[in-house]
């Protein structure tokens, strides 16, 4: 598999805390991996919930490796190629699972200067993503990693909202924020989560009023509720899950 052979689809999932963006990410992952796609999952939320939702334990984070570079830089051989060192550290931070790789960003930047290490990271990440059919990023609503351009162009930005008007307004704010980012975002969509029969119509109306592209409405799912209570992963949900059915429909609409 030479690099560059893939046209890598890059999807970011974001939303206000508590809307279930990590659950949506995990379910989209499930769809992609089942479809035999090689996926890189990136947990770019400092809360780091994606590993739990996917049901895997992680060894390292990218944040750790970035700190390593900062702390050790005066101890490297003077002429060492730091990009090559960091690349190796990024690879070490990748958690290799069955069917996908998981990269957790982990701790945010400290007070020092990250200009140089982030500049190296940009190049490394750009090359790394070409190894995958799809990259799916679970990210906080502030989109900080995108403002640092650590992750290259986004094809689809999915804003997850709950039924509330406020959740929808977050969606609106995020789509405005996208315009200010240096990272290019081709499409912005909204996916409503935890939708019930009683609020479905209102959600659709709200999306229309705010001029948002509502891609789908994922219903409240008993199986997910049970799993959430028990702290079980969502990656291996059964096909009959109503949420999974809607996610599969959304994924098909997105051509995933």
């Amino acid at each position: 598999m030479p690099t560059g052979n893939f046209v890598t689809r890059i999807i970011a999932v974001t939303g206000k805390g508590g809307t279930g963006k990590t659950a949506i990410t995990a379910m989209l992952m499930r769809h992609l991996v089942k479809g035999d796609n090689l996926v890189l999952a990136v947990d770019a939320d400092p809360d780091t919930n994606l590993p739990d939702a996917l049901g895997c334990e992680i060894d390292h984070t990218l944040g750790e490796m970035r700190e390593f570079m900062l702390n050790e830089r005066d101890n490297f051989p003077p002429d060492s190629n730091k990009e090559s060192v960091l690349e190796s550290k990024v690879y070490e931070a990748i958690n290799e699972m069955d069917g996908y790789d998981l990269l957790v960003m982990g701790r945010p930047e400290g007070p020092g200067c990250y200009c140089y290490v982030n500049n190296l990271l940009r190049g490394i990440m750009t090359r790394l993503v070409t190894n995958y059919d799809a990259v799916i990023i679970d990210t906080e609503a502030g989109l900080e990693h995108f403002s640092r351009k650590l992750i290259p162009e986004i094809d689809d930005l999915i804003v997850v909202t709950d039924g509330s008007k406020r959740g929808m307004q977050t969606g609106e704010r995020i789509s405005q924020l996208v315009g200010e980012l240096e990272t290019k975002v081709k499409n912005v969509y909204v996916v409503a989560n935890k939708v019930t029969e009683s609020n479905r119509e209102l959600i659709e109306q709200n999306a229309k009023d705010l001029d948002l592209r509502l891609l789908g409405a994922v219903p409240v799912d008993k199986i997910i509720e049970e799993r959430d209570l028990k702290g079980l992963p969502l990656f291996d949900l059964p096909d009959e899950s109503v949420a999974i059915k809607e996610i599969n429909k959304i994924a098909n609409d997105l051509n995933l």
Binding site: P78, N81, Y116
Partner: protein, 468 residues
């Protein structure tokens, strides 16, 4: 000679081999190994010869992990030990040209994976890889006339050879560390900080690391080679204008164009005269302490107040923004290790305070005669304690005080006038620096002549005396 059974092309650079697709892992974070290039007398090289010590690929189980070392002996009329590191670096590139082979990192941190796909397509011996590598080295680096390769997968043999290799790396690093500003024609500039400090001019030389501490001269060289239009780029040194201060015509020209004309002179190793600009990323800020005519240093990790009563954050705020701020200077920690550290201003003899953890980091680089005379927050808390400490330890900076005092005495004609003690000298922020000329003004009316002399900072002292 064995043929590599897959494609060899730069297009395979960046190819990642996942655990599930991997036939065998060699060296890496969970094992050990190294890569080493040795300049060798041509007579001792059997060109194209390959030796394997330990099991071959065909003897390795799928999914297993082995230690791995690669040693290349290179010979040729132009081959010399200084080229070893450069050639060694190419091993990474060329390895990644091989389809189904992933190579990461360098030296004793190498990490190699061979794909199942490659093994299925006929890769069964290291000889196939070594042969491909040797021909790549010779084709791409024409000064290599003869080359021989030794690969090791036997753990004990690797331990033995690694010890030798570590010695060689160490010697090499010592040679590298001996590279100085005068040994090169090219410095490097960096504009990463210009997004928030638009007039910042970061100049990176063998004796001066970037202010953020992240980019040394070798990093600049490597980055500029890959992308000369990128954030790190070459600066031709040009003519030497001031060797001690570190002023070069090429740097001045670069300063002018990078700062949009705001600065046209930079002295790389000077605190007081045309100092380097300070971005905002610097690891340490230096601050002039006029009361003792010395320089204190405080770093980002020090949360208390420096003897001047200010914390890092306040001084960093005054210093940053890409300006030449006289009296303050941002630097990278590694600059303390430079033999040219502020050599225009007396270097370490001018350093009068730094936080203890920072001092610890660089203590090996502080000259012996001054190391125990530089106080930290554990020794002094304010300026008057600092002054006492410097006097008691006979810090070299006090010679500067006595020079001033002598000067003062020589000109004192009527010492009955009030006189300020050295500790009250120059209490304002330095408006002009020690190099500023002294000047005299006279007041004709009232029969009083006012002499201002040695006006280094604000006013050195005032003597009021009878009109002659």
């Amino acid at each position: 000679m064995a043929e590599f059974p897959l494609e060899i092309s730069p297009m395979f650079e960046g190819e990642r081999i996942r655990k599930n697709d991997m036939y065998v892992e060699l060296a890496g974070p969970k094992s050990k190994g190294f890569e080493l290039v040795r300049a060798t007398d041509s007579d001792e090289i059997e060109d194209g010869k390959f030796t394997l010590i330990g099991p071959d690929i065909s003897e390795m189980e799928e999914g297993s992990r082995y230690p791995f070392a690669m040693i290349y002996k290179i010979g040729g009329e132009l081959v010399e030990p200084d080229l070893e590191a450069i050639v060694e670096r190419r091993n990474h590139d060329f390895y990644n040209y091989m389809q189904g082979v992933m190579h990461l990192n360098q030296r004793y941190d190498i990490w190699v994976r061979l794909s199942k796909d490659a093994v299925n397509k006929g890769l069964n011996s290291f000889e196939q890889m070594a042969a491909a590598m040797m021909s790549l080295f010779k084709n791409e680096l024409s000064f290599i006339e003869k080359i021989e390769a030794v690969y090791i997968t036997d753990p004990e043999e690797i331990d033995k050879e690694l010890e030798n290799a570590m010695e060689i790396y160490k010697e090499r690093d010592e040679r590298t560390a001996n590279l100085h500003d005068e040994d090169v024609d090219t410095f490097y500039g960096c504009t990463l900080c210009q997004s928030f400090a638009p007039s910042n001019v970061c100049v990176i030389t063998p004796d001066r690391i970037s202010l953020c501490g992240a980019i040394n001269w070798f990093d600049g060289r490597a980055a500029a080679k890959v992308d000369p239009e990128g954030p790190q780029f070459p600066i031709e040194k040009g003519e030497v204008i001031d060797e001690v201060g570190g002023e070069y015509s090429g740097v001045n020209e670069a300063a002018k164009s990078l700062s949009g004309g705001e600065f046209d002179r930079i002295k790389l190793h000077s605190f007081f005269e045309y100092p380097h600009t300070s971005c905002g990323c610097f690891e340490v800020v230096g601050f002039y302490i006029p009361e003792v005519d010395g320089i204190g240093w405080v770093d980002r990790d020090f949360t208390g107040n420096a003897p001047n009563g200010l914390p890092f954050s306040t001084m960093a705020g005054q210093t940053g923004g890409g300006k030449q701020v006289v009296g303050f200077l941002g630097i990278g920690i590694n600059y303390f290790r430079s033999p040219k550290f502020l050599q225009a201003d007396g270097g370490w003899d001018r350093v009068v305070w730094m936080p203890s953890h920072l001092k610890e980091k660089v203590v090996d680089y502080i000259p012996e005669d001054v190391v125990n005379k530089i106080p930290t927050e554990q020794d002094v808390g304010d300026i008057s304690e600092l002054e006492t400490y410097l006097k008691e330890t006979e810090h070299p900076v006090i010679e500067r005080w006595s020079e001033e005092e002598e000067e003062t005495e020589a000109e004192e004609e009527q010492p009955e006038q009030p006189e300020s003690a050295p500790s009250q000298y120059m209490t304002q922020m330095p408006a002009s620096m020690p190099s500023a000329p002294s000047w005299t003004s006279s007041a004709s009316s009232g029969g009083v002549k006012v002499t201002l002399k040695n006006a280094k900072v604000s006013i050195d002292r005032i003597i009021v005396k009878n009109k002659e």
